[in-house]
């Protein structure tokens, strides 16, 4: 087990190197990426361009820049550890900003995950148990709607109904949990639900499918033959088996949210990582884009590691190898 984890952690490092290298390649080396142009004003002189390139560290060959990037990442830079560099756009160290935004996205992801797991599991299970009833069709209709409704549309609709029309929730924006816990929840409840709805729909379908498979398993018949209550058959036996594969799905979805909740963050105006990387991409703020990519990749890699460990714990048939 210990050796397994060490091996997996080393693998995470390898994956991170590959991801950052590819990201680096895309951001720095691909043609038409001339970040210095944003800094030289309306009538740049060659001297000014050269100066800016030097300031931005663009005067080194790409491979040296990448080497410096990796070195700072592991050893830290003058702004602390991990060394994530200096934003072209804000002319400020990225590290603190990224950490503050990480927690925003983390809160968004955790809150949404709780809601979507709850909704997805409950709806999927009930659908499976009441297969082909009106309730099942209604739930699967909801799932189809959830999967096919774009988040931005849902978000705007949500704001229109609950903010502009009913005045149940405050407008968009972010309140720090430590500053105002109630405000935090009233501001986050909308993005949580809107983000969760899409996933809840997907998870409801997955859980329903898994449940239907599991319910036809012999061991469910055995459980019933033992005279267990139906609740126990469903929860302890069927759900336990049906949800184990969902753990894998969940781990990856949760990880990807760290760079992928862009639309939700944008619609609800949350200062999270998704907004950060989007703005960075538009402004060619390459160090920021690279830093967020790195963090997202790291979270995904860690989540997949956790999933594998958890899976082996949840399913005794799986062994560490």
């Amino acid at each position: 087990m210990g050796r397994y984890i060490i091996r997996r952690v080393l693998w995470v490092v390898v994956v991170m190197l590959v991801v950052t290298f590819l990201a680096f390649l895309i951001f720095y080396v691909l043609p038409s990426s001339k970040p210095e142009n944003s800094f030289v004003g309306k009538a740049p002189t060659p001297e000014l361009i050269a100066q800016v390139r030097k300031d931005l560290g663009l005067n080194h060959p790409a491979i040296v820049q990448y080497g410096l990037f990796v070195k700072r990442l592991f050893l830290g830079d003058k702004y602390g550890w991990p060394g994530l560099g200096f934003s072209y756009n804000t002319k400020s160290p990225i590290r603190d900003e990224l950490i503050s935004r990480f927690w925003v996205t983390f809160g968004l992801a955790v809150g949404a995950a709780i809601i979507w797991l709850f909704l997805g599991i409950v709806i999927g299970t009930i659908s499976a148990l009441r297969r082909r009833t009106a309730m099942d069709r209604g739930a699967m209709g909801f799932a189809l709607l959830g999967v096919s409704t774009p988040v931005f549309f849902l978000g705007i609709l949500w704001l229109f109904v609950f903010w502009k029309t009913l005045h149940w929730i405050p407008g968009t924006g972010y309140v720090h949990l430590t500053d105002d816990p109630v405000g935090y929840f009233t501001h986050m409840i909308s993005p949580w639900f809107v983000l969760a709805l899409l996933f809840a729909a997907i998870y409801a379908r997955v859980v329903r499918g898994n449940m239907l498979d599991v319910l036809s398993e012999d061991y469910i018949r055995t459980a019933r033959a033992k005279g267990l209550t139906e609740r126990r058959v469903v929860v302890r036996h069927a759900l336990r088996a049906a949800l184990t594969p969902v753990v894998t799905l969940f781990g990856l979805d949760f990880g990807i949210l760290f760079g992928g909740a862009v639309v939700t963050e944008k619609v609800f105006n949350l200062p999270g990582l998704g907004n950060y990387i989007l703005d960075a991409a538009f402004q060619l703020d390459i160090p920021v884009a690279l830093a967020v990519t790195t963090v997202t990749a790291l979270v995904v890699a860690i989540m997949s590691l956790l999933v594998d460990i958890a899976y082996a714990y949840l399913d005794p048939r799986v062994t560490y190898s």
Partner: protein, 627 residues
């Protein structure tokens, strides 16, 4: 997209956001086309709340480096006082220089080479510096402009003009020989040549005082933006909590997070007696600008009274919604943004290397249809020359209805166009229709965003009337600019460009855009390549027609050296000369700035000098603000 233009409408790859809508213009006199008054009484107090999709600062809010028009607005209205300033009001009156830190606007001596400023007594820096502002603080700001690592992006305005600045820039001098500070209240500038717009440079934020004891701690470009020391009526929130005992003790001010929020509160050291209420009224107790990544949300919040305004342009549907509703119309504020939208014609590539073709194109263009594509007059009036009228002294282009290529309702005059085309070498049979192959399928660059694509068919059908057919290519803002700013691409015609002023002087159009010696191999903004020489053409990979290209460098240099009314007349004459005998563009629109304000705003004004809301003169009614 957004309304905040770079103060200079720079147009280089990568600044997609900032470039989308720089400035505008207003011909025919009054810029204040929609009334900048509001109902209610302007009272002190309250917080003026704004949101933007992103600050878009080009220099991280360090005044030495910052080049964004909206940042200029914040500095001049709220945070930084300069030797000279503007009244931060709408129309031509807002483009007039007035004394700010200086006791008066000086007249040059020594044949226009020496300017002496006297500073007012009793003007202090805000916390944590808390001391009187001296001439040394201005001198330090000037040195900072000439320090490459923190250089202002518009440093090129100062560097060739002030004596010794080039040497300081090159590291050959420890001080700028052309600047003297005989005492704390006096600063003297010696110039390399008579420069009529020098005083405008002294109203730009980079020339505002910076306390050396703080400024010297920031050697990296933009870093000072987190700790800008106030000299105006407001300071960045948290300024008073900053410890300046040593450089390492200085932490960023809490009121500014570059990706989330910027908040101004009253500067306790500001003495209104040293200022004029015409320049700054400073009515609200504070200003807060937050980042809201949801553009629609911003304008919904303004409508609901949860915000007072935004530096971003309202989306077209919001404008239409307000403009068509008589009770809501009062919340839309329309003013000339001193920006010209134009179709440029490359004088080095056929068929536009022939002036008759360029003239014919001007005659035939259906500007009325182009205006419709933009949504009508709310976006600004039709342009028939280069520099927006408001920028000329007194706000009048003379004559106001000047139009060298007149047509009924600006819909284009096909007969006049054909008469010009007949004189062209590309119309062999002289029927007024270009019959040369060079007129067929000409590459035409346009933007793929906003109203730009709607113009393509109009331009195509207009030019088709004189036998010119286009091969249009539409790209996003930034790549489209990259194409036309690279002369070696030989793009003959494009409608994707626009230009806004840096400061209210025609030179920021006519000198910056048409000086042959300024032509660059990339990032070039002299799209028509006026003043190109054959040597330079070879060097940058441009074409050079046998008949040569027109050159106005001498006219530009002549006007640059002039001052006062003579200068104004000189620029007007050059504007006309360009339109009549050079014909680099088909100008079609002087663009407006459209602001949407919230119901709690009881006073609104427009800062003509920067083309944004005049925050120095706004007021809010707290009782009408909602959350």
């Amino acid at each position: 997209m957004r309304g905040k233009g770079l103060i200079a409408a720079i147009a280089v790859a990568g600044v997609t956001v900032a470039l989308a809508a720089c400035g505008g213009g207003g011909s025919g006199g009054s810029a204040n086309t929609n009334g900048n008054t509001t109902s209610g009484t302007a009272t002190k107090g309250g917080t003026y709340r704004m949101a933007t999709q992103d600050f878009g600062f080009t220099g991280a809010f360090d005044p030495s480096a910052e080049y964004l028009g909206w940042a200029f607005t914040l500095y001049g209205n709220l945070l930084i006082r300069t030797l000279l300033s503007y009244n931060h009001t709408a129309g031509a009156a807002g483009n007039v220089l007035v004394p700010d830190l200086a006791t008066s606007v000086p007249t040059p001596t020594n044949n226009g080479l020496t300017y002496t400023f006297k500073l007012k007594q009793g003007v202090k820096f805000g916390p944590p510096v808390n001391r009187a502002i001296t001439s040394k603080d201005i001198e330090f700001a000037m040195e900072r402009i000439a320090t490459p690592s923190v250089a202002a992006q518009y440093g090129f305005y100062y560097q060739p003009v002030i004596k010794g600045m080039a040497a300081f820039l090159a590291g050959k001098a420890k001080t700028i020989s052309g600047i003297q500070t005989p005492d704390d209240q006096t600063i003297v500038f010696n110039l390399t040549r008579p420069t009529g717009d020098f005083l405008n440079l002294m109203a730009m934020p980079a020339s505002g005082p910076i306390p050396p004891e703080v400024g010297k701690c920031f050697t990296q470009a933009g870093a000072y933006g987190r700790d800008v020391i106030a000299s105006g009526p407001y300071m960045i929130q948290g300024s008073d909590k900053v410890n300046i005992a040593s450089c390492s003790a200085i932490k960023p001010m809490s009121g500014y997070n570059p990706t989330q929020r910027l908040a101004f509160v009253r500067n306790p050291n500001y003495d209104p007696a040293t200022d004029s209420t015409k320049v700054r009224q400073a009515l609200p107790d504070g200003f807060v600008i937050t980042i809201d990544t949801n553009a629609k949300d911003i304008f919904d919040k303004i409508g609901a009274g949860a915000l007072e305004g935004s530096p971003d342009d309202p989306p077209a549907d919001i404008i239409a919604q307000y403009a068509s509703n008589s009770s809501k119309k009062q919340f839309l504020k329309t003013n000339s943004a001193d920006r010209t939208d134009f179709i440029y014609l490359n004088t080095t590539t056929p068929p536009f290397d022939d002036i008759h073709v360029r003239k014919a194109a001007n005659f035939v263009m259906d500007k009325a249809a182009l205006k419709l594509a933009w949504g009508g007059n709310i976006e600004g009036p039709v342009a028939n020359h280069i520099v927006p009228d408001v920028m000329y002294k007194g706000g009048q282009f003379d004559p106001g209805d000047y139009n060298p290529y007149p047509s009924t309702n600006s819909a284009g005059d096909v007969n006049a166009a054909k008469n010009e085309m007949k004189q062209s070498k590309y119309d062999a049979n002289k029927d007024g229709i270009c019959d040369s192959s060079v007129c067929k399928s000409i590459f035409f660059m346009n933007r793929s965003v906003q109203a730009y694509p709607k113009m393509t068919p109009i331009i195509q059908s207009s030019l088709a009337k004189i036998g010119i057919t286009l091969n249009p290519r539409e790209l996003p803002t930034s790549p489209a600019y990259t194409q036309i700013q690279t002369p070696s691409k030989h793009i003959p015609i494009g409608a994707n460009a626009g230009w806004g002023k840096d400061y209210p002087d025609p030179s920021t159009f006519l000198r910056t855009l048409f000086l042959g010696s300024n032509i660059l191999s990339s990032g070039n903004t002299n799209y028509s390549l006026i003043g190109l020489t054959s040597a330079k053409a070879k060097q940058i990979g441009a074409l050079f027609p046998a008949t040569g290209v027109p050159n106005v460098d001498a006219d530009i240099d002549k006007c640059t050296a002039q001052t006062g009314d003579a200068r104004n007349s000189c620029w007007i004459a050059l504007d006309k000369k360009l339109m009549e005998t050079v014909v680099p563009w088909i100008p079609y629109q002087f663009r407006n700035n459209v602001d949407l304000i919230g119901p709690a705003v009881t006073a609104y004004d427009f800062d003509q000098s920067t083309g944004e809301t005049g925050y120095a003169h706004v007021a809010v009614d707290q009782s009408k603000q909602s959350q």
